[in-house]
């Protein structure tokens, strides 16, 4: 993404960081709207190239939005119809083996802790294995009574708002350009070109981020699935997709994905912990590949942030808005940074402000020409 040529000062950056944190706090309060909006944005930027192709063939915006939406629904419907038996089989296998996978994971953890106690005296003295296993057993035994009702309620609350996703995506496709023109019409002539540039950069940043996220997820899923298939873990593709999607939540999602993979690996091969260790090694390798190769080539390219600032803002996002903050902080920071930098450059330009004042004066003179002084 090309940045405005006018470098933003420290004041602009302080305001950008403060605005990002404030927005995250606000977004956390209206998460029921922000999450569907986020998914709709991802869907919108995913199908936007298709709509652009139709527009460039002379199809109107409205017709292109309808054709693309109907086409996507038809393709998704067919894909679901064909993959339902496979997904059903995978899900019922997971459901049937859920308890088995949990037991396998606990057994793997117990074996690992026992090995650590046998080999390291300080671990044995701390009775790490006994303490950890007691806590874990208590958590597993009471998990259903403590969390299941809450989880069911959360799903019931979220389901209606997630139904908004296709509607929001459709209206973004159909009316997004109208909204952009509507905004542009309100901009004074003096700031017009710079505002066009701002909207273009916003669009490029959001498009780069969300399309990059999809590419990153696909790359992660393929690498993990290939690796898991090579080391002999069952359902490698499903596990690859689930763990790649979980990685949308920085840190927390990656840990959850790794735990899932280890549970499955430890249960599939109870006699050989080396498979579970290989799965952990694979996960670490894919994460490193993700952070240093895939991320800079996909999502990172759209944000152009200093890595230290990115990491600090992820922690800040988590601190002010929890898991939602972790997920939202990077796209919000990217967009607020573009708005802040460009607005800073526009409003701090004395020539543009003077031109705007001059235009206002011209207008005032024109409309008061026939009025007594």
């Amino acid at each position: 993404m090309s940045r405005p040529r006018h470098a933003a000062g420290p004041l602009v950056w302080v305001l950008v960081l403060a605005a990002t944190c404030l927005l995250l706090v606000v977004f956390q309060k209206v998460l029921w709207l922000v999450v569907p909006f986020l998914f709709a944005l991802i869907a919108y930027y995913l199908v936007l190239p298709l709509q652009r192709r139709l527009l460039l063939r002379g199809v109107s915006h409205d017709a292109a939005a309808v054709v693309v939406s109907v086409g996507i629904f038809a393709v998704l419907g067919l894909a679901m119809a064909f993959s339902m038996p496979w997904f059903g089989a995978q899900l019922s296998a997971l459901q049937a083996g859920g308890g088995r996978y949990l037991e396998g994971g606990v057994r793997f953890l117990g074996d690992t802790l026992a090995w650590l106690e046998a080999n390291f005296a300080f671990v044995a003295r701390a009775q790490l294995g006994e303490t950890a296993m007691a806590g874990l057993t208590d958590h597993i035994e009471n998990f259903a009574s403590r969390h299941l009702a809450g989880a069911a309620l959360t799903v019931a609350t979220w389901f209606p708002s997630l139904l908004l996703v296709p509607f929001l995506a459709f209206f973004m496709l159909r009316d997004g350009w109208r909204f952009k023109r509507f905004l542009i019409r309100a901009v004074p002539n003096a700031f017009f070109e710079r505002t066009l540039q701002l909207l273009d950069q916003l669009d490029r940043t959001a498009k780069g981020y969300f399309q990059g996220l999809i590419k990153l997820t696909a790359l992660d899923a393929v690498c993990l699935a290939a690796g898991l298939w090579l080391i002999g873990v069952s359902s490698p593709l499903l596990l690859g997709i689930v763990t790649a999607v979980l990685a949308w939540v920085p840190y927390v999602g990656s840990i959850a994905g790794c735990l899932l993979v280890v549970l499955v690996a430890a249960t599939d091969h109870p006699g050989s912990p080396s498979v579970a260790y290989a799965a952990i090694a694979l996960f670490v390798a894919v994460r490193l590949l993700d952070d240093f190769v895939f991320m800079p080539a996909t999502v990172g390219r759209s944000l152009h942030m200093h890595p230290l600032l990115t990491v600090l803002m992820i922690f800040a996002g988590g601190a002010v808005a929890g898991v939602a903050g972790l997920v939202l902080v990077l796209p919000v920071l990217g967009l607020v940074a573009v708005i802040g930098e460009t607005l800073g450059a526009v409003l701090a330009d004395p020539r543009l402000r003077a031109r705007h004042r001059s235009a206002c004066e011209l207008l005032r003179r024109q409309v008061t020409r026939d009025l007594p002084a």
Binding site: L56, D175, R185, A190, F192, D200, L362
Partner: protein, 156 residues
């Protein structure tokens, strides 16, 4: 309320104006419709500065009605050129996005069509037929400028 983004945003408003511009000569009605969707309309008051010399060029302008003078910065009394309806200016920005070579100012109240450089470049990248036709007209336009400058230089 439900007409919020309605008729005022219809791109077809610029359609008849664009058809009369030499830059878009040769485009079919369907291609003109595609280009019109990318053009914004702006109204300027007499004396209003459209862009300054040295400013980063991000758009090309078409005069739908009215008159525009191209001059050195702040020297509107000695215009380099006076342009009327149908003329195009700011076109150098399309090629290099560099600084504006002169100031543009509305000599009379005018209506302009504006196309953002990013939209223009995206159109060039994605629509070969339109790209070829507009590029050819741009080359003709630049050739005419070079001829005029050469003739002016050769004059005693």
């Amino acid at each position: 309320m439900f007409r919020l983004f309605g008729a005022a945003n219809k791109p077809a408003g610029a359609f008849p104006h664009l058809a009369s511009l030499p830059l878009f000569a040769g485009l079919s009605p369907r291609e003109l419709k595609i280009v019109a969707a990318l053009v914004h309309e702006r109204g300027m008051l007499a004396g209003e500065v459209i862009f300054d010399e040295g400013e980063e060029g991000q758009a090309i302008y078409f005069i739908h009605s009215g008159e525009v003078v191209i001059c050195r910065q702040g020297d509107a009394g000695h215009p380099i050129a006076t342009l009327g309806a149908g003329a195009v200016f700011g076109e150098l920005a399309l090629v290099d996005g560099g600084p504006r070579s002169a100031q543009a100012r509305a000599a009379a109240e005018c209506t302009l069509g504006v196309m953002f450089r990013g939209d223009f470049l995206a159109l060039m990248e994605s629509h070969a037929a339109i790209a070829a036709k507009i590029s050819f007209q741009l080359v003709r336009h630049y050739a005419a400028i070079v001829r005029r400058m050469t003739a002016a230089g050769a004059r005693p």
